[in-house]
């Protein structure tokens, strides 16, 4: 087996794997959107002075943040029903969508901590000053504290996304046809040992090319927003 023919083989399988990678991107984008949305509520909940809201938010955050992603994924894939009946109509939920929900749980919990940390990083004096000027707690939070938090949350949020996209191949274990599953199918189909390394290397490069710019931008933002 010459090197050129291996290269040609990899090239032949490339579109097939790239389509799978598209699913990785789709799952990660949906999961970061859902996770961020839920994470904002959890994070604000954690700072709440209402004991019940604070307790539930803290519990949910700690639970999903400290559970292995794969375990959460298994829960979502095997416990969620395949078809859901909403007002008489049956809807089928494909595996990749259930996996996406599985990914959004830890994302929400991690983002919740990012929100809590950002709010905590604003000097306490600002809360006190706002109170002295007669602002209510919610106005202080939304008009004074949160606008300052957004720039602080952006770099860790992008880091979280980079972690998320690199975690999406876990979905192959539960039968989602993403890039890793497709690479494995290609390797099995070619059934030759010399194909193994080039094929997985291609997958590695694919993820790197996608993730590297994100981590560079996140680093640049971090430098830009650094408060001295």
């Amino acid at each position: 087996m010459s090197e050129t023919s291996i290269f040609a083989d990899v090239l032949r399988w490339l579109p097939f794997v790239l389509w799978g990678f598209g699913l990785n991107v789709l799952m990660s984008v949906l999961a970061i959107v859902l996770g961020t949305g839920a994470g904002v509520f959890l994070g604000l909940g954690q700072t709440s002075h209402i004991r019940l809201v604070g307790g539930v938010s803290r519990l949910a955050t700690q639970l999903f943040r400290n559970a292995p992603w794969l375990v959460l994924l298994f829960y979502c894939i095997f416990l969620m029903p395949y078809s859901i009946v909403i007002s008489g109509a049956t809807y089928n939920v494909p595996s990749w969508l259930r996996a996406t929900l599985g990914f959004s749980l830890p994302v929400a919990a991690n983002f919740s901590e990012i929100v809590r940390g950002a709010i905590g990083s604003i000097p306490k004096g600002q809360w006190e000053a706002a109170e002295a000027l007669g602002y209510s707690r919610s106005v202080t939070l939304f008009r004074i504290i949160l606008p300052q938090c957004i720039t602080r949350m952006l770099p860790p949020w992008m880091n979280l996304y980079a972690l998320l996209i690199t975690a999406t191949p876990l979905a192959s274990i539960v039968g989602v046809e993403e890039a890793l599953a497709r690479t494995q199918a290609a390797v099995q189909s070619e059934a030759q040992a010399s194909f193994l390394i080039p094929m997985y290397a291609t997958l590695l490069v694919m993820f790197f090319l996608y993730t590297y710019p994100i981590s560079r931008i996140s680093n640049a933002l971090e430098r830009r927003f650094r408060t001295v």
């Binding site: 097939f16 389509w19 274990i173 040992a193």
Partner: protein, 280 residues
Amino acid sequence: MKALKTFAFGLALGLGAAVARAETLDCGDDTLCKIEATKVLKVGTKDDYKPWSYRAADGSFAGMEVDLANALGQLLGAKVEIVKVNSANRFEFLAQGQIDIMIASATDTAERRQVVGFVHPNYYSSGYNILLPKKVKATKWDEMTGQTICAIQGAWYNKPAQEKFKLELLAFAGTAEVESALQQGRCIGVLSDDNLINVQLADPKWADYYMPLPTQDDAPWGIAVRKADLDKPWGVLVAGAIANWHRSGKLLELEKANGIAESAYLRKMHEALKDHLATQ
């Protein structure tokens, strides 16, 4: 803010489209009725078991089991939708209704019959054996005791082979990984399906290897439907289709067309069921 709203709306729309609305039919639990109404047959097949079921580079499925799925689709006049399954999720997919039928190189065992309904007659059969380099001279399984042998994760015969012959198994994800381990000298041979070994031996790449031991525990493979369907029209139709494939020799034909050496089981079934009036 407006852009955000548009984005959220688009996202909701996308999610809605992904959650495909299933047809509401008055078929109850009758799977055959559903297939005939929707004209779609969803077949679960693996994609890591060449030449029974594997992927072509364009993403389409190929192999003997895929040919069987297409034959079934033709019989029903339905479009065949192949759903990729793996050893871990194939029974759940069937039970949940994600597929109507499973043709996924599954050995028909008592344990599995509690979960899904295996349709009879069985469509294939295989036992296990060891692929060995020709320089290893062996004639009896007992000589393999304590030897390190490569294997594929999740194969049903890993456990009996380990218990019966005290092999030291080194299990990998697939055949390519096993081949690589064999080349690196991490094991002396490969525990595998005897039919699969025959396919490999036909390839000049494996010229220095052979299969000197007698095949063990020949066990039939089953096409499965949901347990509730087994004695209903759907299960009975599939049973009839398999019997016809044995009778007409279609299974032997497909086996040959996929480059697999003739298996004794298919020959035996064909002899038993063939038309006694047909002239030779």
